[in-house]
Amino acid sequence: MTGAAGRPPLEAMRVHVPTPLRSYTGASEVEAEGATLAAVLADLDRRYPGLRFRVVDEQDRLRPHVRFFVDGEQLFDLGRPLRPGAELFVVQALSGG
């Protein structure tokens, strides 16, 4: 899904993928489309089957040790609208041995 100039079309988001999820994406940075975090995660799951359930539980709650940031702000709500062209950072958040 790249545009004529080799850049993603405006509606596509750049998604930064943490190491635990790269067995799905094969890359540290991928594209996905969607107007909300829920839609972006659904699109990621279409492209990389199985990814969504590792970060969102069956009751549509974000799992506790994965965090989502857009424009420096943490997202807690799957329904949160995302501006076109925003960059989504998925971050692992866990400490301990």
Binding site: V55, E58, H65, L94
Partner: protein, 384 residues
């Protein structure tokens, strides 16, 4: 001169699931030489890895990571390649007003009846029962259990059950009847279904609970491990939070056979292992359940205990284990038997060691050290 191709001798393979990955130990036919193969899934939390005895090929692994949610991986080439389940065990969406349950981890895997190839059961934390009809690719909640009004009050919250959350475990399928199922809930008691999981009945009579609690309330019962004897499926064995028990159906009252254990050792523990061909023979691995529940080998002296007469007498089996200052113990699915003659026994410790006996526990030797904390050890014979 063309050498005659020697028939490869293949012994059991052990599937050692740990807090930080999976290791396989491949044994030769004599069970003398073992090859350690791994890590697979380094860093992943593996709670149970089981080879399907019906085909000797399908290997299922219950996994999660520190960050990521729970899933099940499948392999049909002994772990050379893995594929994730298309639909891992997950509760149905909560209806308005219901508690919204989510699987934290799949804890237990049981292959289904030989007449139903591809059938598997999974037990989860928090407690849920799930079934796959396609060899573990897709999983469905067993509604007859997960939504049963008499089961729902038994489901524990984060402060109930084990430190890692309440568990559904010990799913047993009667080899005579694919619809006859037994399982254990920690906490929540022992439950039985004779209609393939549509309806369930409690099986807790005779089981004791912690002093001061109501023995009639299944929520206070904590069966650590329940095994149906393959040699006589009417005989059930149980290692409970409060003792070792035996039940011979159609009776419904468990007998605390652990009272015959030495008082200094007690009859608390987690694993329960039964002989594949002799219903009178079983093994346990006691731990210290006194005072603050240290959950170590009693006195720092690890030992298995064996009965050959249905639990009337127990014999200490410590030959080969450290004689003192060894404080590890064995979790509930981390001790198992193979089908050899004599039976081989295998256990994995909380200190990351795998121990084995080729002679039903008379002598023990260490097969591997320095692994992460071991959660489960299963033996299987891979198809050639």
């Amino acid at each position: 001169m063309a050498a005659r191709k020697r028939k490869p001798t293949r012994g059991p393979t052990l599937f050692v699931a740990t807090r930080k990955g999976l290791w396989l130990l491949h044994g030769d036919a004599a069970r003398r030489r073992w090859r350690l193969d791994g890590p697979h899934f380094l860093g992943h939390v593996l709670t149970h890895v089981v080879l399907d005895p019906r085909d000797g090929r399908t290997l299922l692994a219950a996994a999660k990571t520190g960050h990521l949610g729970p899933t099940v991986f499948r392999s049909t080439d002994l772990g050379e390649t893995w594929k994730e389940a298309a639909r891992p065990p997950a509760f149905r969406k909560a209806r308005p007003g219901e508690a919204a349950r989510a699987v934290d981890h799949t804890f237990w895997l049981t292959p289904g009846h030989p007449d139903r190839p591809g059938s598997w059961y999974a037990g989860t934390s928090p407690q849920g029962l799930f079934h796959s009809g396609d060899g573990g690719v897709t999983w469905e909640p067993v509604a007859g259990f997960n939504d049963a009004p008499e089961i729902l009050p038994l489901l524990g919250g984060p402060q109930d059950g084990t430190p890692d959350g309440p568990k559904l475990h010990s799913v047993n399928v009667d080899p005579r009847d694919p619809d006859h199922l037994l399982l254990g809930m920690s906490s929540g008691g022992v439950h039985e279904s004779v209609d393939g999981g549509r309806t369930w009945a409690r099986l807790i009579d005779g089981m004791e609970v912690v002093e001061g609690f109501d023995v009639r309330d299944a929520g206070f019962h904590d069966p650590h491990c329940v095994r149906l004897s393959p040699a006589d499926p009417d005989r059930l064995w149980q290692q409970n939070h409060c003792g070792i028990y035996r039940l011979d159906r159609p009776a419904t009252t468990w007998e605390r056979v652990g009272r015959a254990m030495p008082a200094a050792v007690g009859d608390v523990g987690f694993p329960m292992v039964v002989h594949p061909r002799d219903a009178d023979v079983a093994w346990v691995f006691p731990m210290d359940g006194t005072t603050v529940w240290p959950r170590t080998s009693p006195g720092g002296k690890p030992a298995a205990y064996l009965t050959r007469d249905g639990g009337r007498r127990w014999r200490r089996l410590a030959n080969g284990f450290p004689r003192g200052q060894a404080w590890w113990t064995v979790k509930r699915q981390a001790m198992t038997a193979d089908a050899g003659a004599p039976v081989g026994l295998y256990l994995g410790t909380t200190g990351g060691e795998v121990w084995a006996s080729r002679d039903e526990g008379a002598r023990w030797g260490c097969l591997a050290r320095h692994l992460p904390e071991i959660y489960a050890v299963e033996a299987g014979v891979p198809a050639r």
